[in-house]
Symmetry: C2
Subunit: 345 residues, 2 copies
Amino acid sequence: MSNDAPTTEPERTRAPNIRDVARVAGVSYQTVSRVLNDSPSIRPETLARVRAAIDELGYRPNQAARALVTSRSRTIGVLASQTVHYGPATSIQAIEMAAREAGYRLSITNISSGDYASIKSGLDYLMSQSVEALVVIAPQVRVFEAINDLQVAVPYVTLESTGQNTQHSLWVDQVTGARLATRHLIDLGHEEIMHISGPQDWIEAEARMQGFLRELDDAELRTRAPILGDWTASFGYYAGLELLRYRDFTAVFCGNDQMALGFMHACREAGLDVPGDISVVGFDDIPEAAHFAPPLTTVRQNFAEIGRRSIELLLGELQGERDLSHEPVRPELVVRRSTGPRSGR
Amino acid sequence: MSNDAPTTEPERTRAPNIRDVARVAGVSYQTVSRVLNDSPSIRPETLARVRAAIDELGYRPNQAARALVTSRSRTIGVLASQTVHYGPATSIQAIEMAAREAGYRLSITNISSGDYASIKSGLDYLMSQSVEALVVIAPQVRVFEAINDLQVAVPYVTLESTGQNTQHSLWVDQVTGARLATRHLIDLGHEEIMHISGPQDWIEAEARMQGFLRELDDAELRTRAPILGDWTASFGYYAGLELLRYRDFTAVFCGNDQMALGFMHACREAGLDVPGDISVVGFDDIPEAAHFAPPLTTVRQNFAEIGRRSIELLLGELQGERDLSHEPVRPELVVRRSTGPRSGR
DNA sequence: AACGTGCGTGTGAACGTACACATGCATCCC
DNA sequence: GGGATGCATGTGTACGTTCACACGCACGTT
C-alpha cells in the first residue's frame, strides 16, 4: 500500500520527445534542438549520434510546441471561392507546393456564398488559425471590407488586375489580356461584339470587362452593356439562348472558357456555326479548351505562376523586405478555331 | 543604474491570453478555460462577464498551446493528386467544409508525380503535421505500401470501389457505375465497344474497367484490352486519332468526361458523327459535360457526398465507434446525346 | 449537530520546444 | 603565462493552454 512501484512502466505509447532523443544520444536536449535547427556549431560526431537517435526512435518534432514557443504558426491562409474551377485550383496547387517548399503549411477555407457574412466567417476562421499571411482567391470587393473590419494584421496578397494597389496585390494584367482578345476580334472585322462577364465582385471579371470596353472605345466601335454571368457553362448556355434571339452581333468575348463552352452549345442549338456565323473567345485556356467544338480561341493565364508568385511575395514581406514591386503576370492570346472573319452576310 | 523600472511598459503588442481575459473578467484563468470549453457548471452571470472580456480584448484561443497540452492537432490530412480535376476538387471542398464544421482543419498535400518516393514524402509531410486522420484521393496502390512503410497509426479513408476492404475505405460502387454505362451501350445494340481507362494505379480506374469487362462478359460480347490513359482530354484526343484509324468498334466508354471530350474531338477530325457513327459515354458528369458537342452521356458521381461521408467515417472512428460499415455511394447514369443506336452500316 | 453531496470556482502541475544565458575547454596573441 | 576569444555543450525559463485535484459553500439527510 505504501509502494505503488512508481518506476515501473512509466511510459505509455507516448510519442518520443526531444529529451528522449537526448537520452539515447547521450547529450542534452538543447543539443538535439540545435541539430533540429541546423545550428552551425555542432561537432560532426555529435551530429551523427543525434541523427542516429532520431532515426532509432522515429522522432518527429512537435509542431504545436514549436509554434507555441516561437509564436510562429508557419501557416499561410488561403481564402478561396470556386476552387473547383481550373484557375483557382491550379493556383492553389502551386501555392501549396511553394509554401511547403518554404516550410509553410496551408490552411484553405472555401466560402460557399459570396455574401459578406460568409466571407467574414471564413476570414475569421483563418485568423483563428493564426495564419502568418493570407492569399485571397475570391470575390475581392467584399473581402477588402472584411479585412478592414477584422483588423487583419498579417501580410496578404490578392490577385489584382490594374496595377494600382501594388502594396497588397499580385499584379496580373488581365486588362491587357482582355484587350488582346477584343483586338483579335476587331482585327477579324467584327464590329458588333458582345461580352459575357464574370460576377462583378470578382476583380478579375471587372478588369476583363474594362479591357474589353477600352479596346472597343479605342477602335471607336459601339459598346454595349456586358451580360453579368457567374463563370459557369450553364450560364453561358442560357445567356446564349437569350442573346441569339436577336443576333445583333457577330462575335462574343466570354469572361472564361466555361461560359464560352455554354455559349457555343447555344449556338449549335440555334443552328449557327462557330466561327462561320459567330466568333467566340474565351479566357483562361483550361486544358479542355483545345478540345471544344470548335477548339476555343482564348487567353492563356499562367495560374501556376500566379500561385508561386503570391507565395514569393508574401514570403518576402514576412522577411521584412520593403520593395515588393514586381513585374505583372502577362496573359497571352491563343488563337484556335472558334474565331474567324466576320461573315459577309 | 540600479533601477531599470521593470514595471513600465511590460506589454508589447502581444496577443491577449487566457490570463488577460481572466483579469479583465475578475475570475481565475481556469474559469475562462471552462467557458471556452463549454463546461456546464458555470454561473450565467460569470459566463457573461467572461464573454464580455473576450470580446473586449479580441481574445482568440491559441491553437498551438491547446494542441500541445491535449496532444490533439485537430487536423485531418488529405493526400491528393490531380486536384485540378473536377472530381477531387469537389470532394476536397466538401471535406473541407465538413471538417471545419466538426472543428477540424485540413492539411492538404499534392503529390506531383505518382511514384513511390513522391507519395512517401507527401505522407511523411502529413505525419509531421501530426494529423489525426487521413483521407487519400490519389493513386492508391502505392499509397497502401507507403502507409505500411511509414507505420501510419491514424485512421484513414480511401475511396475504394469494390466493397472488399471496408475497414479503411469508403465504398463507392464504381463497378456498378461502369456496368450501367456499358449496359446502356449494349442495350443500344453496340457489340464492339472500346474502353479508354484511367491510370491503372487509381483504384477508381481499375474498378471502372472491371465493371466494363464484367458487363461485356455477362452479355457474351467480345472484350478487348482497354487503353490505359491519364485522365486528360489530350490523351482522349490522341487515343481517338489512333483508334479511329481502324474503326473496328461502334462505341467507346471513357474513364472520365475529359477523355471523352478529347475522343469526340478526334471523331470530328476524322469526319465521324457522334452518336451517328460512334457512341461515347463518359464518367463523372462534370458540369461542362452537359454542354459538350454533343452533350455527353455519362455516369454521375456525387463527389460532394463522397467528401462528406469520408469525414463522417473518420470522425466516427476517432470517437471510437466500432461499426464503420456504410451504404455504398451509388453512381447514376445520365443519358444525353452522345449515345445512340448502332448505325446500320 | 455531524455528515456526505453537489455546484461553482481556484491552484498547481504538465505538454515539448526555443531562446537567453552560463559553463568548460582549447586556442590565440602579446 | 595570463587574459581575451571562440567553440561545443548544458541549465533555467517561458510560451498558453488543459487536466487533476482541492477548496468553500449551500443544501439535504441522518
